[in-house]
Every structure is written in structure tokens, then in C-alpha cells.
Assembly symmetry: D2
Homo-oligomer: 321 residues x 4
Amino acid sequence: MSNMTKKLLIDVDCGVDDAQAIMIALAARNVQVLGITCVHGNTIVENVCKNVLRVLKVCGRLEIPVFKGTSKPILGVSIDAGHFHGQDGLGDSPDPSAPGMDQLQKEGAVEAMVRIVNEHPGEVSLVATGPLTNLALAIRIDPTISQKLKGLYIMGGNTESRGNTTMCAEFNFACDPEAAYIVLNDYLCPTYIACWEFTCRSKLPWEFCDGWLAQDTKKARFMKAIFSHSMEACRSERIEKELVAGQGFISCDSYALAAAIDDTFILESDEVPITVELSGKYARGMMVLDTLDILKKTHKATVMKKVDMEKFKQMLMDSLK
Amino acid sequence: MSNMTKKLLIDVDCGVDDAQAIMIALAARNVQVLGITCVHGNTIVENVCKNVLRVLKVCGRLEIPVFKGTSKPILGVSIDAGHFHGQDGLGDSPDPSAPGMDQLQKEGAVEAMVRIVNEHPGEVSLVATGPLTNLALAIRIDPTISQKLKGLYIMGGNTESRGNTTMCAEFNFACDPEAAYIVLNDYLCPTYIACWEFTCRSKLPWEFCDGWLAQDTKKARFMKAIFSHSMEACRSERIEKELVAGQGFISCDSYALAAAIDDTFILESDEVPITVELSGKYARGMMVLDTLDILKKTHKATVMKKVDMEKFKQMLMDSLK
Amino acid sequence: MSNMTKKLLIDVDCGVDDAQAIMIALAARNVQVLGITCVHGNTIVENVCKNVLRVLKVCGRLEIPVFKGTSKPILGVSIDAGHFHGQDGLGDSPDPSAPGMDQLQKEGAVEAMVRIVNEHPGEVSLVATGPLTNLALAIRIDPTISQKLKGLYIMGGNTESRGNTTMCAEFNFACDPEAAYIVLNDYLCPTYIACWEFTCRSKLPWEFCDGWLAQDTKKARFMKAIFSHSMEACRSERIEKELVAGQGFISCDSYALAAAIDDTFILESDEVPITVELSGKYARGMMVLDTLDILKKTHKATVMKKVDMEKFKQMLMDSLK
Amino acid sequence: MSNMTKKLLIDVDCGVDDAQAIMIALAARNVQVLGITCVHGNTIVENVCKNVLRVLKVCGRLEIPVFKGTSKPILGVSIDAGHFHGQDGLGDSPDPSAPGMDQLQKEGAVEAMVRIVNEHPGEVSLVATGPLTNLALAIRIDPTISQKLKGLYIMGGNTESRGNTTMCAEFNFACDPEAAYIVLNDYLCPTYIACWEFTCRSKLPWEFCDGWLAQDTKKARFMKAIFSHSMEACRSERIEKELVAGQGFISCDSYALAAAIDDTFILESDEVPITVELSGKYARGMMVLDTLDILKKTHKATVMKKVDMEKFKQMLMDSLK
């Protein structure tokens, strides 16, 4: 029934796990993807746009509008994204027949975000799987969008000061601490966060991944091609140090997406006021939980602790069918 | 001749000296004001919009489009503006027949700024006399506007760590340090800055001000009405402490405007790379001059040191005629 | 055997759990307490001195020299210690016949620390249960003491950004972040840390505490008198929020002391390079674990994860006998 | 008359201008130098000690006690001092018959500072021409010395954010910002500061310097030998950028010393509350003037603006006679 349809707006810095998240959304029933907005992060924003178009093409869904967003964080100084997802952000497995940039919308991502939320007041679930630059700019340009969102689902931040990029900061927040601060302080809609430590602890066995990729479908072959670079990288000493609870298949961005499309996905969570450290030497970009209630914030975020892993596996399996 | 016409876009947080600057622009020959964008600062952005409309009405120029911009600084936390310019930002001298908010453009200030600069590439002089929030958002949404501007004229910042709002920061920069940082680092067009110490040292005698206001015109009566609150405030102990070189008539915002409309206004200046301190306890928001060339920036700003005070007096006189 | 004797120097900000730690040391076999140095923290340093003397008197050990140390943190700005341990730091249960301040040594704590470590090179275990100001000053005055220590045992800091005083900082580190930074970066001897989250998770049941205090001894009666204020406070909403893993009897400082007197006390630990955030708005004073090895520090601290709770209970029981 | 004698304690990081200051003190009538304490800064503290002994030998004053102090700033992280004063801090003009380190006192500089001030309450003028580490440690160990000093004379800091070492910080303050903060906030005695911009504007013509060095004395020959390296360096592009008011002979440390020995030396000054920025990215170590009285400090420092240059020249001339 149409009144059950979830309307999603997805903001990505499309590396491989963003691709996985998008493909979960495209495969889900009762989900309408209103648009995909692109932001710098895992790779430059031009690559992000190309990567999203490739994903949509593989899924036969190029009718979904794709918008190019900001190429830099708020302060303008990018950190080195490394090449966990490959130079092109998608495993360095190019497709000669990939869609061209002419397939992008003329409208910019921030303007589109403001417009789309205003066109569907109370209905849009915004899923953000990259640095939060587009979202931060959108709410400065139109402060009313926060109250018009149904929900906000974020992959980013950390709960226990375990950094995977700087000593204390997770990649998406480290890329644009000011944007994370703005979003966590100004978006007052229901907010669900899949943090770094949580995603690490919610890993799947590599054996599952093998079976997942072994499906005899076009989508599975695509995923296998773009994912092999990252799977290799997971064995490096540096990545080992980043992981909180040891090796495994961690599709970070997919947890946020899964929570957005299934209200029963989150099994345990903390409701806690959160903000972001902006000025520390080591802690800049770290998510901060105000467990002592010092800030007297009325808005609390839902920080995921435990999710339905069986559902998660099913969503992943379906996404490559 | 039309090819001599200066095309101005003016971004204001319309207090009294913003009003003075606008009136100088409106009175100048060969100047076309393409629009006035409003930003939070001396008062809330709604008041700023109203104040600009009142100034335009007094000058009979309500055809100039006025755009409402951001109501908050980048990080969202406003400082207390005090009430130097009165509660309403314009001397608490209300006009019952002031134009209504329906006179505002529907388009937002940031979007308008991007559009107008793109419509007149290489021709627009952007004058900013308030916190730089609108300008910062505009360049994140369209990074190309910096190279399409003819010039950027800013009132703000300081050169010798003399704060007038916090211990080390000038009001416009203190209101939105991140915006000032973004603008000074990302706008690579010719940039001219009238800093706090400079404006203090370029004061006019109060006697000049008396004569200026004594002109028997509608505009002069308007200025006298809106200016008396600030003139009174100048005698307070707090304002005394803020002033760098003693008492006098200081129309801060007018120096930036004057430089924009007359290329011979600036007599002496320093060309120096500049940025803004974001993270200090006392120095947050302070403009920083990189005299040692530590940052290896290629872009240098023109920091005003001495201007043609005779021309300045003439511009002020003309503005109330 | 004398060559088995552990030589302890104990630096305290003697609240109630410092008293518990001192009493464990005094009751231990094969432990020689070379001196007790006092520092500001749970209460002003004058109270700390008085409290230490009271503990020594109850235990009949006033021959142990007590030294008055610094009254302020490195930067000189004290935080409000609250009154968890009572106004006097020892449960507001005064003793009319308490020893006078004339019992203190004339030598200052920092000078005594330097001297004692130099007199027993390679033999002294330094246990620090308060802010680390004395230790920080000592190593600046004599940089050689680090290599002359047998070991350093600290109660302080946190591993998961769970603050009990500020949003991200534990009390001892929050009291003097610079001192914590100096000690963690300059003391290169074997270093053992009992952090806030660890002590919370290593709590004992209140039932144990009841039995412990019910012993019919002078020491147990003293402990019951000074501890009742804190036990009461544990039920307050604020303290509830501070606790990481729920209610229980947590004698924070005693874990560091226990590790110093029994080499088999620590069952599990992490060896990790650590430092302290000094400049964050929320994270100032937070202990930082460099799990990514970004700082390339050669020195690693031993961060306690699991200790022998049966031994701990026995030490506590013995301390009141 | 003995009751007119000025008792000086001099704390130096003996480079060339420290040597000049010491020699002014040694040549002055009615001045008793109680001791010279050494601190890291222009060169490592071992070199500082050697350099002071060389100066005393040339002046035939080896009876003055010299004390070795701290080798590191408070936080332990030294900045690169460059080699303005030569590798050895004294122009790389070694003396084979220089006094040995055995001439140093056994007592450390911080302990000596505390002792000497306590032995002459109300009488000691403390002159500090290097990083303020020794002074900061001294007042933490004995908070009473501040009120026992007659006066404190500092070369360091800046008044207009003109850095000569980092973008906004002067060398002595940049070397140890925390120490500068502690001293400016905790020493409540009369405090006189010769800041960087002031010393630059109080320069002497190089012609004076030529005549000064051309005196036919042992001391003048020594000065010529140790000064030639720095004089050469003054012509480098980097040093040019550091200078606030152009080229000239600037003996920075000598202004503070001159003020200590002649109460009529300072002709103009500002009385202003001051502190130090500790946490800025660009402004760390910058001296901050609280002209707005935001901090509500009761203690004000005397910041030199104009001094008696004729007296200064005479002191310099006398110092090499």
C-alpha cells in the first residue's frame, strides 16, 4: 500500500559500502528512493557521482535522480581519504560503458535536499552515509527542514573514543567535524546513529560474505568486482588496528540504511544527547555523549547497540538478487 | 557611461552604520546596486530585512531587490549582539509606515548571491558589512563564484588583536568565526578589508557629524533619528574601552563601501596573507596576519591603512542630500 | 625477606578511597611506605594533609613521613571538586584528637619525591591516586627520576571517553590535564593505570562492603564513620549518571595500590601508547589511547582490564583488621 | 649606600642579547646580582650555563652563583629555536679556556630561586629574559614568592599579535606558553614587560652599534666576537619579516634589565590586565591584553611603550667599558 511506502533520500560518498547500502534500498519493498545526493568523502565528489550512476545502472534504476553536492568540508580543508575503497572509490574496477556525468541533475544536492524535504513534509527518511556537509548546508539555508523530516539515519561517529581515521575520530565525522556538529545539534527530528564501534561489533563472518558474493547474478558479479579491493585491504596492519572487535565483514553504511527501511531492525539502543568535539588536538571530530547531561539538551539521539542480524543478512542477500 | 557603472551586491546585518553604507551606495553616481542580502548580526535577520527596506524607502529605491539570508552563524551558536544599534538594530526609532516583509524577494540570500554573481561574471563588487555567513555558504554551494567576482570588500576583523566584542575579536568575525575563515581562505578574488583598528583610526570629528546630520533633508532627519541611540552609547564606559584611538564618529561599514565605489579611495594598504583563528580560548575569531609567510598562501588581501578622508566626508554628505 | 620488600611512595588527595588505599598499603606484608605526599584534589591540600595524618594515627603509623605538596593544578585554575567525600574530604566526621599540622615534614612534597626516588634508585613504586601535579613538577625539576622508578601506578583517566567530571574526563585528569599529560608522556618507567571505566566494572557488591565495615575493629569503625557520606552520595542522580556499569562498592584508588603491592593482581591488561587531550572544548582532560599508533610512541602503558577480585577482597578485609 | 642597592636575580636562556643584559647588570652601580638561573630557550640549557659562565669570566665576576634550571618547557615539547644566536647560542665563537660546568652550583635553579627570594623578602627584582619555565615551577612549589618579590621584569610576549616565531607568538612565550600563562596569572607583584613590538620600535641605529663594539676593551672584543653571527642573520629575509619597524640594533633582553636597575627608565607604559592564549591553532603562545576588562583581573602589568633611549645607550656603553 502506498501509504506504507518509505520515502528515502540518500546522501552518499559512494564507496563500496555506500553502494551496498544503496542496493539494499533499491531491493527493498515499499521503499521509494526520492533521490541520491553526492558528497565528497571516500573519494572526490565527481567520482562519487559516477559511482552512484554505475550502481543505479547495474540495478536498472537510472530513473532515480542523482545530484552533485559539495566537494569540500565546511572549513574547506579535506583530509586524505586513503584508498580503502580504491582510487576511484569503487574498487578500481572500471566499467567502459558506465553512465556519463550528463545523467546528473542540473540542480545541486543542497538545493535538491531542501526542495525534496519541503515537497514531502513529514515523510522523508534521510539516510546519510558520508561526511555530513550537504546536510549541514541545507539546514543553514532552510532551518525548517529539520522539523519536516520523518527521520535521520546516520552512519558516523563513535561512542568510545575509538578513532579509525584520527586518534579519536571516525572517518565520516573526521572528514567534516563542523558539519557533524551542525547536524547533531540542529536536526531535531528523530535521529538514529550507527557508530563505528557498533558497526565493528555487528560484523558478519567472512563465510557469509563468500556465499553472498557467490550468487549467480549480475549484481553479485558487480559487487564481487568492486569489493575485492577492500576485502584485500582488510588484511593490512593499519586496518587491523582500526577494527574494534577483530576481523569480519563490516558493511558500515548498510546498518543506517537498514534502520531506515525497517522500524524493527534496531533491537537495543541508547537515547543520549550527543555533540561533536571541534577543537581538540587529538579529539577533533570525536562524537561526544553527554551522559552527565551537562549540556541540558532536550534532543536525544538513538545510538544503535544491537540490531537484528538475521534481517540484515536477508537484506544483503536480497540486494544482490 | 554604462561600462563604467559599478555593479554592487551588498550583504548587510543592517544596523546604523550599514544603513549609512547603503545610503552612500544609493547616492553614488555610476553605481548599480544589484541587490541587498541580509544576514543575522547587529540584530536578528528579520529586523535586518525590515531595516534595509526602511532605508530603501527613505531613499525612494524600493525597486532594489532585498533577500533574507541566514539567521544563525555556521555553527549555529549566536553571540549576544548587545544593543549598540538599539533593540531593533536601527536606533529604536520605529516607522509606522515602514514597508512590510512582503516586499522581500522569495529567493533566499545565498541562492540569490550565487545567481547574481553568475549572471554578471567579472562585474560584481561584493560588499560585506556583517557576519560573513551568507558568503561562506554561497561559496560552498558554488565554488566558482570566487573567480567570477570583480572584488570583495569587507568590514571586519582586526590587525593588532584589539577585540571589540571578545578579548581579541572584532564583532563581525566574532559573530561567525568559521564564516570569516571560509571567506578569507576560499574567496581568491581581489579582497579589500577595513579592519576594526583602521576604522577607529579613521574616525571623523563629532563636529563633522553634527553638520552632516543638520542638513535639512528627509534623509538627514531619518539618519538623525536612527543614529542618536548609538551616539549616546558611544559615551558609555564599555564602548570607550573598545575604541582603539579615542572618541569620534566612526561609520565602520562605510569604509568598505566607499572603497568599492571609488578605486582611488584607498591611499595606503598592506598586502598580506590572512586567515582567522578558530580554536583559541581568547583568540577565537581573531583575524590573523601571516606576516612570516608560514602558511605559504598565494592569495593576499589588501588591508586598508589610510584612505582619502576628504572623499569620505563628501560621500557621507552626498548620502543625506 | 628484606629484598622482597616493596618500597612504596604514595601520592594522594586523601578522600575516602585514598584512605582505603593507604590502609591497604599499611596492612600489607613486605611493604615499606617511604612516605606519603599530599596534593590538592578531592579537597584542599591542607585537608588532604590532615586526613592522611588521621589515617596514619588510626593505624598507629605516624612515623611515616607526610609531605605537603601543591595546592593548585599546573595552570592554577582549580575545578570544583564537589563534595562527594564531604567538605573536609573525609566524610565530615571530624576527630577532636586528630594530629596537628606540626606533624608534617618541613620538606615539600615535590622535593621529597625527587629525593626519595634518588635515594632508592630502581626500588620505588610510586602510587598516585590524585591529580598528578606533584609528579609533573618533580620530573621537570629532576628529569632522571623517571628512569629511577621501579614502577608507576595511577588511578585516573578513562579509556572510552566516559567522563565522571566533565563530559569526557575523569576527575583526577580533569583536575589537572597538563599534569596528566606530562606524567603520561615523560614518565617512561613501567606504568600501570586503573581507569574510571575499569574501576566501575570492577565494583564489589554492597553486601561485601557491609560485611567489611561490620568488623569489630577500631579501623573498621573509623572507615564506617568516614565512608557513610560517600555511600549516601552514591544514590544521588548525578552519581548514578557517572557510573559506567551500575551501582556497587567502588574503591577507585585501591586498585592502583593493590597492583603496586602484588605483581599477580592484574589478570588482563592492554599495552597501549597513551596521552591526554589538552585543548578540546568537551574532551579537555580526556585520556587518549593511540590504538592506531599515530604518535609513534615507544612507551606503552599497562591499562588494567581485569584484576583478581578475590585478592582484592582479601586486601580490603585485612586493611581493617 | 647599601639600602639603595638593587638586588637582582636574573633568569636567562643565554644567547647574545641575554649576555648583553647580564653585562649591563654587572656594570651597573648599586646593583647586586644575587644569582643567575639558566633555562632552555635560545639553546639547550647546558649551553646556556656555559654561556653565562663565559660572560661572568670576561667580566671577572665568576663569584656570582650560576644555577642550572629546566631543560624543557612545562609540557615537555620544545620548539626549534633556530640558530639566530648560533649553534652554541653565543655566536659560535668558542673560548678554549671557558669555565667548566663544575663551576655551576649543585642546587637547581628552581630551588635556588625559591630560596633566594625567601632570603630577601621584598628586596629581589627578578629579571626574566628567556622562556618562563623556571619561574612557573618556582611559584607552584612555593606560592608565596610572588608576594615576596620587589618586582618582575620580563622580556617576552607581544601586544599586537605580531609573531616572530609562530604567526602570533613571540619566541620566549612561544617556547613555553603554559609557563608564560602561569607567570602572568600567578605573579601578582609589580610586573614590567618589554614586548616584541616595543623592542622593535626601540631599536638603535646600526651606527651606534658599530661605535659600541669599536671600544678598545676586552669586553667589547668579546661582544664583537659573539654578536657578529646575529648581526649577519639580521639581514636574512626571514628575520626581515619578523621585525615590526624595520632594521636596527635591537637588544631585546636589555630593556627588561634596564628597567630593573633604573626606576626612571620607563617613560610611557600601559597598565593592562594580561594573559596568554594556550589553545589556538595560530594564536597559541600569544600574549593577550584584556583591554575590555572581560576577565575582571585585579592585577595589571606595566607594558612598556617608551623608554629613555639616552640612558639605554649609556648603559650599553658602560657595559663594555
